[in-house]
Structures are given as C-alpha cells and as structure tokens.
C-alpha cells in the first residue's frame, strides 16, 4: 500500500524543521562560537582620509618697514611672487606650503602671543649692497635693501628669493622629498606586491641614520665613566646649568627634556689591548673605527636607564676616562670624541695630563660645547642650515616631524589593514580597534590644528596619532595562540557535522524518491 500524500507531507514537515534548526540556526551558531575575535576596522574611513590627505602649512611672515622708503604695495607684490614660486612646489602634491606676508599691526601682535610659528622681517635701507642679517637668538631678520635694487623695483624679488631660496629652502626640499617617498611607497604597494626593497624608498641620508626618532620626552644622561676604580668627581651641576639649561629651555616647544647625571667606575673596554697601535705624537694608543664599533660594553656598563620612565627616549653623553697609565686617542679626531648613531655621544678624556680627581667647569666647558652641538645632530635639528637661527630651525624640524608622523601613521594603519586582509587567521581584538580609531581621531585633530596654524598642538596630536597607530599595529593579542588552528576546525568537528549532514542528505534523497513515487501513483490513479 503506497504512502498517502498527507502522510508524506508530515514527513516533509519534520524534515524541514530539522533542516531549519541544524543548517540555518546550528551552523551559524557553531561558526560564531568557534571563530576568532575579529573586529571591523574602519577601513573605509582610513581610505577616505588617505585619499583626502593634504597638509596645509601656512606660515605668517611679518614684514615691518624701517623708515619711509617702502610702501605697503610691496607686500602684495611680494606675495604674488612668492605664490608663483611656491606654486611649482604646491603642484597638486600632498603637502602645500604657504608663506603669508602680513604687516605688523597691533591685532597681529596678540595672535602671536600664542607663540606659534612665524618670522619677522625688517626691511631697511642699505647704503651699499643687499644684505641679510639673521639674529641667532630671536626670530627677527633684518633685510638691507640697496638703492639700486629699490630703484629697479627688485625689492619684492629680493624678499621672495631670500625666503624661498634661502630661509625655507631646506624645509621645502625635505618636505618635497618625504612627499615623493610616500607617493613612491604607495605606488609600490599598488603595483609590486613583492617585498623587494625599492630604490626610491631607500632615499635616507646620513642625517636620517644619525637621528634619534622623535619622542615627546627625551632624557639626557651625562655619564662620567671611569675605566678603573679611582674616585673622581665633576662639577656637572653648574656646568649643565650653564650650558644646557638654556638650550633645553629653547627646545621646550619641541619636546620636554629631563636630565640625569651619573658616575660609574670599573668600566672595562671591550678591546684587545695588544692589538692597539701606539699613538704617533703623544704617549698612548690609537683607537680605529674597528675598535670604536665595540667601544661600549652594553652588557657590563649600567647604561640601561631607559624603559622605566614613561617612554622617554634616552640620549647618552659619555665622558670616558681611560686608565691613567694608558691614554687613548681616537684616530683622526681632534676632539677625541665620536657619535654612536641614534644613541649618543662619547668623549674620551685622558686625565694623565690634568692630574686631578675633580673636573671643574673649565675642564667641562669644551666637552659640553661638543655635546650640545652633537645633541642637535642627534635630534636632527639642522645647525649647518642657511639660517643659523635656532628657533627657526626648531620650527622647521617640528613641521617636518608633523609630516613624517602623519605619513608614518598612515603607513602603520594601512599596513595593519593589509595584514588583516592577508592573514585570515589573525584576530583583531577590541584594543586594536580602539587604538586604530584613536589614531584616526588624533590624525583629524592634527589636521584641524594645522589649518588653524597651531603647530605646537599639531605636533603633540600627530605624535599621539603615531603612538596609537603603533599600539594598534603591535598589539600582542593579535597573534594569540588558539587551541587548534582555524584550518583544523572542520577536522575536529567532523564527528558532529559529518554524520548529521550525511543522514540528512540521505533522507533528503529518500524523500525525493518517495515524492516521485507518490506523484507516479497519483498519476497512475488518475489514469485509471
């Protein structure tokens, strides 16, 4: 007796309920409970920001006229010239750069109270030729314009030439370069997926290799290191007060600095004494490049005073006193000192000539002078640049750091996105997402500050953006250990999924067969 149609329908109902529960509810639940945590990164927002990435630098230049030989129209005239010159540079690139000439009036003075980046130019009549005087201490520059230039109407050209080809030349060049690098990197990402080092990306110069990466906090540590155990003292307190406090105060806007001093004894050198070459003109031994590379015994000397203090970057200054019976000299070095890139500076001091156990201010003066110039090289603040003015150079450095911070933030974040796309098994924990979003938020505030020409605040915000992007990228929870890898998941759950799916598939086939049969039966009956 064949199965009746309603009976068959009941079976189909039962089957569909099972199907519904196991496939439509069971499998999603299973996938959900056994999957790794993957938060949705705001990739679109990053892309939007990256496409809209544009940095506007607007630097006010305050022009004052000394005497009555110049009139206000000069400002507009010069501005046109400057815009024209900078137009080449601002040609649709990521970074646009503007110098805004302004007259010195009372309202402006108030704005400048906030100590933002600006320059002051004083135009004066010169008796002989065109001259420029840049004050090393303040942000004032005097331009002396000769009679000939003035009569020929070349004054505006002279000003714009000075600004673009002299004062801001280095900065414009550097910005142009970093912009190119970034674009080259981006193109490289798009076209070549292979990890080979590109020629365009490796445009780093000696300066970049030397420079300690930017940090909002630096710690300067002055070490007096003695090779043996003879007691020694130094009047570092007054000397540092005299020669460094002032510098540090000027660098205040750039980052904050703390200073520690330290004396150490029994710091042996890591060199083979028998292999040393004797010095030519003085009794002692010469240290060659080979010995200098292993000069510091990181293992033995207690120089690990970083890491405790809130992510400060440590800059080390070492005065090394070799044993009394074996003076040491550095080959081809008059100052007897050398720099260890991204780390600090070392000065050798042979005491056999001084014959004393206390270094006073007079002894320390040349050493600290050397250290102060090396501090600038280590920070990457140009000292040899066209303008000798420190605060203008600091401002220049700040702006280029804002750019590199923002570019590096993008690099970090887009690499993170790339990583999560390429590695399917990587988890994206909440912390990464939070840091990612924070980083983008700080990026946006940086741009806001830049639009308002608040460079000091922009610097802080941009370093926070970079810091958070680092935190997002290096979150250790991203590579947490799972009990079994994702690709084994199916294998482990086969005992559950295999039989269930096979039974259901088989019964589905059976149902279909029966259905055909019933249809046939009904058909037959009708025929009858």
């Amino acid at each position: 007796m064949p199965e009746s149609y309603p009976e068959f329908l009941k079976r189909i109902k039962v089957f569909s309920i099972f199907f519904f529960y196991s496939i439509l509810i069971g499998i999603p639940i299973w996938l959900n409970t056994t999957s790794i945590e993957k938060r949705e990164l705001p990739v679109n927002k990053l892309q939007e920001l990256e496409e809209a990435f544009k940095i506007d630098f607007d630097i006010p230049i305050i022009l004052s006229f000394m005497g009555t030989d110049f009139d206000e129209s000069l400002i507009n005239e010069t501005q046109v010239l400057i815009d024209e010159e900078l137009g080449k540079f601002n040609n649709g690139g990521l970074i646009s750069y503007h110098l805004q000439l302004k007259t010195a009036d009372a309202t402006l003075e108030e704005d400048l109270q906030t100590d933002e980046h600006h320059c002051e130019l004083y135009l004066e009549k010169s008796e002989d030729e065109d001259r420029v005087f840049v004050s090393p201490f303040t942000k004032k520059m005097n331009l002396y314009v000769s009679e000939a230039t003035r009569v020929n109407g070349n004054t505006s050209k002279f000003i714009s030439n000075f600004l673009i080809h002299d004062l801001f030349k280095d900065e414009i060049d550097t910005l142009l370069k970093s912009e190119k690098n970034f674009e080259a990197n981006k193109e490289e990402e798009n076209f070549t997926r292979s990890g080979s080092a590109s020629e365009s990306g490796s445009g780093t110069e000696i300066d970049d290799l030397l420079t300690i990466s930017y940090s909002p906090h630096y710690k300067l540590v002055f070490n007096l290191i003695n090779e043996d155990g003879v007691k020694i003292g130094w009047d570092i307190e007054h000397s540092v007060e005299k020669y460094f406090k002032n510098l540090v105060a000027q660098l205040d806007r750039y980052a904050d600095f703390s200073i520690d001093t330290n004396i150490q004894y029994y710091c042996d050198l890591n060199i083979d004494e028998s292999g040393l070459t004797p010095s030519d003109n003085e009794a002692g031994f010469l240290l060659t490049n080979k010995e200098l590379s292993t000069f510091i015994n990181y293992n033995d000397w207690n120089l690990n005073n970083n890491g405790f203090n809130d992510y400060s970057q440590v800059i080390n200054f070492i005065v090394y006193i070799p044993r009394g019976d074996r003076p040491l000299f550095i080959e081809n070095s008059k100052s007897n000192s050398f720099i260890i890139p991204k780390w600090g500076s070392i000065q050798l001091l042979n005491l056999n000539k001084l014959k004393k156990d206390f270094l006073d201010e007079v002894d320390l003066l040349p050493i600290l002078e050397n250290f102060s110039s090396e501090l600038f090289s280590l920070l990457g603040i140009p000292v040899k640049s066209a303008s000798k003015n420190l605060s203008i150079n600091i401002e220049f450095k700040m702006r280029s750091i804002i750019v590199s911070n923002l570019l590096n933030t993008f690099k970090n974040l887009s690499n993170l996105v790339k990583l999560t796309k390429n590695l399917k098994n990587i988890s994206i924990p909440m912390e990464t997402l939070v840091n990612f979003e924070k980083s983008l938020k700080y990026y946006e505030t940086t741009i806001e500050f830049l639009n308002d020409s608040k460079f000091n605040k922009a610097l802080k915000a941009s370093s926070l953006a970079l810091y958070n992007s680092d935190q997002a990228f290096f979150d250790k929870n991203m590579i947490q250990q799972v009990y079994f890898p994702d690709e084994h998941k199916l294998a482990v759950y086969t005992p559950l999924i295999g039989p269930i799916l096979t039974t259901m598939a088989l019964s589905l086939i059976k149902c279909l067969k029966d259905f055909r049969k019933i249809k046939q039966d009904i058909h037959d009956k009708k025929k009858k």
Binding site: T261, Y266, D300, N309, I500, T503
Partner: protein, 597 residues
Amino acid sequence: MALVECSTYDEYLELKPLLRNNILSSFNFKLTSNGIISNRTDINHYDIFPSSLGPLLETTNTQELHLRFTQGFWDHEIWGRLPFDGFKSGGTGVEVWANMNGDTKDEVYQNWIILANSLSAFFCASLNFIDSSTTTFPRSCFSSNSTIDINNNNNNNTSYLLRSALPREPVCTENLTPFLKLLPTRGKAGISSLLDGHKVFDAEWNSMSIDIIKRMKEDQTLIYEMDIKINLVVNIPKKLSKNINQIPKPIPGEELRCDPTKKSDIYHCFPLDEPVNYEWDLETLFGKDINGGIYISERQSRVCMANVDENYWKISGIKKKNDDLTFLEPKVLTDSYGTCFELEDAAYNYDIKFETSDSTKLPPMEPIPITVSRSLTGYSQDSGGFRTIFQNPSSTETELIYFETMPWYMRVYLHTMELTIVNNINKTKNVYHIINSEFDEKNKVIKNVYYKPEKDRSKPSHLELTLMIPADSTVTITYQFDKSLLLYAEYPPDANHGFDIDPAVVTVLDESRKEVYQLRTTSLLLTLPTPDFSMPYNVIILTSTIMTLIFGALFNMLIKRVLSVEEYDEIVGQSSIISKLKTRIQLFKKKLTGKTD
C-alpha cells in the same frame, strides 16, 4: 637647587663558622644616594647609587622597596639563629614588598605593577607574574622603616604596603649578576669580586636581599639608602672534595675512615664522624681571591671573622701580588664583631686562610625564640587542610604575628580552625574550636585575627594572626580548605608538579612589641585536580559523537514511515524479491510434501 654630595659606599664581609663544618659568609654592601629631586625638570645626580633604580622608584612613588631571593633550607638546629635575626632573608623563591605612596589604592596598585614589571626585567626574575591574585596589603607583619612623615612631606598622600611572593621562582645564577650590577664596583674589585654565580648557588643555603629606603636627612634632603646583603652557608668538606673532583665519586676503600673500635675489614666499615681538623681559604670557598681593595668608598672594605677560640682556630690574612706574599695585621673594629682585615691596596689580591684543629669548638649557639612548621594535611583531590605547629622552647611566653597568604584556588574555611595547646612539661592538652562560643574567652593564644577572604582569580586570602605562645608549649593550629578547579588556560606548564604555596611569615615581638626575630616556614606543594590536557579534543569529539547518535536515532524515528505489521507484509508481499523468493520456496516445499496433504 644645590647639589647634595652625600653618596657613600661601604662594604664588608663577615664570616662565621657554624657547627658540622659549615661557614656562613655574609656580604654587606651599603649605599646611599645623593639628594633626590622628585621634580622632573631638575637634574638628578647619581654616582654610587645605581641610576637605573632611582627613576623607577621616583616614577612609581616608592618609599621603600624590599626584595628577597632565597634558596635552600636553613637548618636552625645546627646553624642556630638566622643571620640578622631573619630580617634579611626571605622564604624559598622570590619575595618583594614595597611601601608606596598614592592618592588611591588603585593608583598605588598600578604603580606596583609597573614596579614589578620593571624589576622583573632588571633582576631576570618572573616578577612580572605578580598581579592582583598574588598581591596582599599586609597590616602588621612587615613594619615600615621609612622615616619620612608622609603628612608633612607632600599633599594628602597615603602610604600603602604591598607584598607579593613567588615561591616557585628558581633563584639561580642569572639573578646574581643584576645584584652585582647595582654595586659601584660591579663585582670587579673589593669583596664583591669573590661572588661567582656557580659558587654562590652551590651553597647549602643562600639568600640575597635588597632593602631600599627613602629617608629624610637632618637638612631636609631626601636620599635613598640601599642595603644589599648576600648570605650563604657553605659546607667545607663538600666544597673541598668538589674542588678536587667536580663529579662526586665513591671514596676508595683505603681512604675510608672507619671506626677502629668496631669490626673493620674490606667488607665492614663503621664510618667515623666527619673529621674536625680542616684547612681552607677564601679561594676554596669562592674559587678566587679578593681582587684588591677599593678607593671609591670612604672606608676600606674589610673581611671580619667571628670570635672563635684561638687555641683551636688560626686565621690569617694574606696580601699578595704575583709571588710576593705578606701577612695582614688583624684589627679589632668597634662596629664589627671579631677580628677584621682591612683591604687597603687596590693593586694587591687578598685572601684569608683558616686552619682549625677542632671545628666543633665554637661559641655556644644563641637560642631561637620559636620554631614553626607548617604542613598540608589530607589526601583527597578536592579538599585538604593546613596544620601549623608553633613550638616555644623558652620559659617565657612569646608574642608573634603569623602572616599567611593562600592563592584563591584554596577556599579556606576559617570556621574549621582548631587550636591545640600542649604543655611540654606537664603534658596537659587543651583543644579549642573557633566556632565554640567560649573560644574567645578560653583561649589565651589567639589575640587577634585578621582575615580577608579570597576572591576568585583576583585576590588571595590573607590571614594575619597575633598569637601568644605560652612558655614551654606547643600550639597547633589547623583548618580546612577546598581545592577548586581552574580554567583550562590557568594551569601552568607542568601542572602535575603541583602548586607552590608561599611560605608563611612569622614575626616575633618582645615585651614592648618591638620586632626581634623573623622567620619563614618552608613553601608547600599543593596538588590540585589536574585535567588531562588533550581533554578539549576528546571532549569535543566525544560529545559530538553522542550528539550525532542521539540526532540520528531521533531523526530516523521521526522521518521514517510508521507501518503496522500487516501493512508491511502487504507492501513486502507486493514488491520485494525476497518475499517472492520466500513464497516460491514455500510453494516448492508444499510440492515436496504436498502428496501427503
């Protein structure tokens, strides 16, 4: 701001012979820093005090820091009192406690974690495993030595004492190097040049301690005082034989020392006690001699030997350079015990020679105020108990504070506490239960109980008892606990080894409630129910199989057609080949037997 040049350094080595040919060497290093300026913008000057620790203590607002690294068992029956009355030695493993200032407990705790993590990197120890589940805030067992009056020092900061111990930490050679790095001599000259990882950790018992205290001087400057001590007990015969042969070998027959009064031939030997006449020097103990004196301290570094009977002991100091040997003049110093040798010259090496004709001739051992032993009771996987026995050998009653922390996976039932007091002289025995209503009045032993129960995964239980142990008696305290199951990921590697429980700390007080002695019990090994770690796979696979079985049965039952037997037969009769075959066979059978029908 004026620079306060007040950093000082002092070092000395004290040697004390103990019974059974042991010697206790204690290395003492005392360092003080220059004036410390907490203000970030001003300059801090370090010379003697390590510049690596100063900023850490400043940023974490630490007033006092104490670290203990101990390994081995102090045999008080033979060795007597602990050195420095036990205040400078910890329990097995690593112990750290600190006095930190802060506005809130949370802030202090955050700083504590920073401190622990940094110290972990510094001392190559697993101090980074310190978290809230091992940290306690002790009340009275660890007294504060800091003299800074917090209230007049700076704002309304409160000071908190935090403590944590890691009994499982193996104290090993890599932990000694950071200790030496803290010293201005860094183990290259002076007495610290004797310290060598392989020899120090080869000792019977060793303890390294650091105590840093921030102190205010008379002139209102703040300084750090650091006290580093390394104590070790070395067994001399063992060391001598090890110096001859690194790998222990059986003594050849002719060198065996047999008791002549008893039968002795090639098959029999009743061994004599260890010999008592020995000759050794510092080089025997430490593998090298002292590499010269030091110039950076105000005082010369010195080696002092405890007073011993001169008829049996001969001690001489030697100063040598190449083959040139001179003997040192022993001195008696006011602030050190015994005879001392001063190491005056950095260019010479120094060594101390010891000769003894009878090493048992030692000054009488000072009595210890109390002995404490603690053990686990019970054998089941799910519960257990503690038994702590306090024995007072003296004829005066002794007051003490008993401090104990237990990890959260031991659920302590304090109501099961039971107290047994046995008088050792007249053998009377009294038992008290804590739940008994008369407990408080009748027992005169437990003066005060402070108990903070554990909280799963975040807090250990913390028990502090103030006890008065009667004269000549033994007090036993027992209580029960349950063991809880941990989560899969919480088990440490090698979980079947068991879980180490911190040593309990006992601080003995005198009549004026001043701390006079401190000791620690041994650490305990607790076995917890430990799962088989391939379990997750098995569980998944087994449950999956069972689920499929149930599913299959249910599914088939519901999805298949239900037929009565008749219906079945009917269907089968219609279609099946087998049934056709059956009817054929039946027909055939009928044919065969049909004739009779």
